[in-house]
Amino acid sequence: MRAAAAATATVSLRHFRSFPTIVPSLLFSSSSSIPFHSPRLCVFLRPRQLFLNRPLAASFSSSSSGATSDSTYDVIVVGAGHAGCEAALASARLGASTLLLTLNLDRIAWQPCNPAVGGPAKSQLVHEVDALGGDIGKVADRCYLQKRILNVSRGPAVRSLRAQTDKREYATEMKKIVDSTENLCIREAMVTDIIVGKNDNVKGVATFFGMNFYAPSVILTTGTFMSGKIWVGKKSMPAGRAGESASQGLTENLQKLGFETDRLKTGTPARVDRRTIDFSNLEAQHGDEEVSWFSFDPDFHIEREQMCCYLTRTTKITHQLIRDNLHETPTYGGWVEAKGPRYCPSIEDKIVRFKDKESHQIFLEPEGRDVPEIYVQGFSTGLPENLQLPLLRSLPGLENCSMLRPAYAVEYDYLPAHQCSRSLMTKKIEGLFFSGQINGTTGYEEAAAQGIISGINAARHADGKKHVVLERESSYIGTLIDDLVTKDLREPYRMLTSRSEHRLLLRFDNADSRLTPLGRELGLIDDRRWKLYQEKQARISEEKKRLKTVKISVAVGDLAAEVSSVSSQPVKESATLESLLKKPHIHYKLLEKHGFGNETLSRMEKDCVEIDIKYEGFIVRQQNQLQQMVHQQHRRLPDDLDYYSMTTLSHEGREKLSKVRPETIGQASRVGGVSPADITALLITLESNRRRTQDVKRGKILEHALAESNPQWVEDREHVVNE
């Protein structure tokens, strides 16, 4: 009985999905022969209701029960890095039976470069992934070695958390989560080909040793592994990371499917042995005394002992050594052409481009509690290995250091992301998704952000549901994806706060109130988290109400006196606490100090209250500006627009729009080379097309209406036409 019900559900679902074509025929063919004409159909046609009422895992019963074989899944995720893990977890949690394929089971969620999570803009990504129910924030909270809040006093939108993490512990913790998640299988394999069905839809993947795995959704998160090649000086070898083999063959097969590929370069500095460094004369960088958290889930707020980072600087000897050996570096020697990122220059780049600077800062960061490795941040180089140690030893404190791993550069294939739509599904092959470095990004946070979106959409795709798209102005995740699929990127893409035009609205403190309701609606936020969330929001709004109503008397108490002395502004008689909080330099802490605080609130909640009140004017203004433009920006563009036929568009506009095929007017306006005049021309064409189809439809409707009242008329007319 249950199976039958599920089957009906699926069938009607499928019909709902394809009802564009089915419903009309269903409606107008002789009605008695339709198998499911129960009122139930109507119920199912309301997508929202359908969504909320159904138990999560139930919807997938058809695909997994139909083919019980081990090789058939709903979703296959290729690669278990930061994108792959989030994708697989999101997909499995949505009830899709998910297979996670990786080249090496022991290197899940590895941090091959900087052992750190967060920083400006990146921490916002982490908070957002967490607000949607992802894991990067939780694992970083669990494995931190040190935590610091950056930009403390520069405004709530740029305030950001950065954590040094224990890279081994990080990988272990993520593995534990992956292992213990229902619906999720993990397996070692090298994927070499994508199996494509007749309708340009993905059917599965083929692996090196001959196994095929099947699923209607496949996510590729290949990182630096696709035709990866690492370089130390002039020497190179095929590898995804040092000591790990690259994945071969997949690029060629993707090219055969018609995908455009290109190559990017990035690098990582040397690691040195902590025991051989003399820290005594180096400036120490401690973590914050009051630790902050990425995750909104208080269960993961477990404090631990922090470790120290250290600061050293390049010296004249360093600079001389590099200048003398420039010809030995790949870039200046001229044997590597792939583009490296501007914000991650090698030390030789820094010295060549900024000749006047006598010294550059170098950070020494621990890679873990139990390992002696120290990451030498700011010191990546393409110099040959034999020169790297002398170079390291030119740094104060490292005079006698020993090097554990040399610095290396890595070149890899990526697929310019204009080939994806904003759901991260490729435009060419239905059901094939890309996430992470394969889309040209860099960074664990950027990868995780794409991972969770592609995971959600892959699962929904397998289930025949609508894809989810985060709009640009909704989140840093949305901004990231919008940039990726719209812009012509020439270097690995890193998230920066200046990339978001709406950053005042996209803060760390409101990531949950922006995205958790969506996470809940999608099915990624469980009841416990949802309850926590709702309680938190209730407390915040209660407190804001209280601050609005409670008034203080100027004559009585020290609060007024201290407020006016701290803010150097007078305090009015019977001022509300809210009005005090709006004054410069007045923080919630001051209210607390004088007994006007609320002890039931957490520090985070107090921050939220303070930000909402203090910056209300700015926030409301930005929100209003945003709303004004949203209407126009979100106007959708049909998929089948023929830009080349629009003679009113500039030539460049036609070319670029044909290539990117934007989904909305807003996205079109962001495509490089598309002018405002092009957008106007586009709007006119759309409107003209709409009028034409409308006229045609009106004509038909009238015709049929007439036909109904007078069937003879149509016959006559047909008769006339035939003659």
């Binding site: 950056l150 405004g155 005042l504 609205l505 909402d612 209407h631 306006s669 409308q694």
Partner: protein
């Protein structure tokens, strides 16, 4: 029966969800098509007209959820964005003079506002006569009644009356553009129209692009399809015109100021944003120098808006004093210029004893010409007073025209006189009587002008033939920086736009300085700087981001 009902609701559902096309056309078409479809769905046998929307919109749900915490603050956050996005909605309110300008002034000219904030802008600039009688303070809550004409005045931000107008509100959708439209019928002179336009811009409206009202009308479902072609033509004309304008803008008006202001904004953004994204790699920001730069920027903007203010000239006009030795033809010049016999002209030196005024209009700027008594040493009491008055006239005038006789050439007395009247005011040397000048005298005078260096321009005229009057007008306009303001022409538009850019920049900088005074964190400064940069370049926010990023990477050594 059950199935029938069911189909009905499906039909309605389809109509609502999948075909906004039909419900979209407006009030008139909606009920008709709905009814029609009802009929169709319930019984018609084979109808495949209702092809749903493009597949993609079926596949994609667009998520734009606001921040739940600010819902209370902003009112309704776009929850139903999905329903609305298919309608064209312009975000800005535009304004333009819609009656022709440049020709002879009409009796009435119209300034049209259109867009979501048309009423709000009108409310800021328009004071209804009806209301002001009742209650002074109530005047800012003007509630327009659609299609009812109201009489009143337009006032600027300081409350000064700009013009008497009739306001004609036409609320959406019963207007040309189907948006809220307010038309202000002003007096037909260009001066009035421009000032009303400027007041609207200051109140928050944006100058309309050529054809923009028609474009909006079309996109909002007005005009028929054949007219689309005309709109398209307008738009393509617009892009080439924009290119022209950009080209011309290189020389005209405030363009160098606009460019340098923009560069300064980007520079400041670079400094600040680099610190925000790469905190630990940068030397600390020199806040004081940033504040100094901001202060000097806002001073530049304000002084530009004040001094190069055509409106000021348009409003008060100019006084031009014609001075010179007796009998060089000052009065004849005045008569020839003003095309009147305002001043008495004789062969007798010293005929003019008092200051004679005549009015002319040069390119819309009202000018008062002051003809003065010839300046010389004299014992005649009346003439002596006249000479004194001449000197006073030279002092109060905005521009001094010194007339010399081309027949006699530059004389000792001329040098003497020049010393007497010299000031830092712009001066033009007019060499009159060119018609009867001996050859060579011109060169001598020209040399003299160069030697004296106080003259900005020299013009050869003949009051008898009228020769040189036009050049004289040009010279005046050039000196005042008005030469690039041809009436209603292209350049005027460019200047208006630059003016608008400066107005917007000024607003942003005012807010920025408030933020600094309130010690608001530095991230908020970037909001205003970005807005200033945006208004100065009229490009998109993403482009500013990209520019700032490139500048950061070029300027600072960043990277780990």
């Amino acid at each position: 029966m059950v199935s029938l009902l069911c189909f009905r609701s499906v039909g309605v559902y389809l109509l609502r969800q999948a075909t906004p096309i039909i419900t979209r056309g407006g009030r008139i078409s909606r009920p008709i098509s709905k009814n029609l479809c009802f009929v169709l769905f319930s019984s018609s046998p084979k109808t495949s007209l209702l092809k749903p929307r493009a597949q993609s919109s079926e596949n994609n749900s667009l998520v734009f959820k606001g921040d739940e915490r600010v819902v209370g603050l902003v009112g309704k956050v776009v929850d139903d964005a999905f329903d609305k996005v298919d309608r064209f909605q312009s975000s800005s309110t535009i304004v333009a003079i819609v009656t022709p300008i440049g020709g002879p002034p009409g009796a009435v000219g119209i300034v049209r506002l259109s867009g979501p904030k048309a009423v709000e802008v009108a409310r800021r600039v328009f004071r209804s006569a009806k209301k002001t009688k009742k209650k002074e303070s109530d005047s800012d809550t003007w509630r327009p009644k659609s299609h009812f004409v109201e009489y009143g005045v337009v006032v600027d931000s300081n409350g000064n009356v700009v013009d008497e107008v009739l306001a004609v509100p036409m609320l959406a959708p019963r207007s040309y553009t189907r948006e809220d439209v307010v038309e202000l019928q002003c007096h037909g002179s260009e001066v009035c129209l421009r000032r009303v336009l400027r007041t609207c811009v200051e109140a928050g409206a944006r100058l309309a692009e050529p054809g923009e009202f028609t474009l909006r009308a079309f996109l909002n479902g007005r005009l028929d399809l054949s007219q689309a072609e005309n709109v398209e033509k307008l738009i393509s004309a617009k892009s080439s015109a924009a290119a022209d304008a950009a080209l011309e803008g290189i020389q005209g008006g405030f363009s160098s100021l606009v460019k340098s202001l923009r560069a300064q904004c980007i520079e400041l953004l670079t400094e600040i944003e680099a610190r925000l994204d790469f905190e630990d790699e940068m030397p600390p920001l020199d806040i004081e120098s940033v504040i100094n730069k901001i202060t000097s920027m806002s001073q530049n903007v304000e002084s530009a808006l004040d001094t190069a203010n055509y409106d000021k000239l348009l409003q008060s006009g100019l006084q031009i004093a014609i001075v010179g030795r007796p009998n060089v033809g000052k009065s004849s010049l005045l008569n020839a210029w003003s095309k009147s016999e305002r001043a008495i002209v004789t062969e007798v030196a010293g005929t003019t004893r008092d200051v004679v005024e005549a009015n002319v209009t040069v390119r819309g700027v009202p000018i008062t010409l002051l003809d003065t008594a010839g300046i010389r040493e004299t014992n005649d009491i009346v003439e002596k007073i006249g000479v004194e008055r001449s000197e006073t006239a030279a002092k109060v005038a905005d521009v001094i025209i010194m007339a010399v006789s081309a027949v006699e050439g530059w004389t000792e007395e001329d040098t003497e006189l020049l010393r007497k009247i010299q000031s830092d005011k712009p001066m033009i040397l007019v060499m009159n009587k060119i018609d009867c000048a001996p050859p060579g005298s011109c060169d001598q005078l020209e040399d003299q002008r160069k030697k004296e260096e106080v003259f900005h321009k020299s013009v050869f005229t003949s009051a008898v033939t009228g020769q040189g009057i036009e050049e004289l007008e040009d010279a005046i306009l050039e000196i005042l920086g008005l030469d690039r303001v041809p009436t209603g022409g292209h350049q005027w538009t460019v200047n208006q736009r630059q003016c608008e850019q400066l107005v917007r920049t000024k607003e942003a900088l005012v807010r920025l300085r408030e933020a600094i005074e309130d010690e608001i964190p530095i991230d908020f400064w970037t909001i205003e700087l970005r807005e200033a940069a945006l208004s100065l370049a009229q490009i998109s926010g993403q482009d500013v981001s990209e520019e700032v990023l490139s500048s950061i990477f070029a300027k600072f050594c960043i990277g780990k």
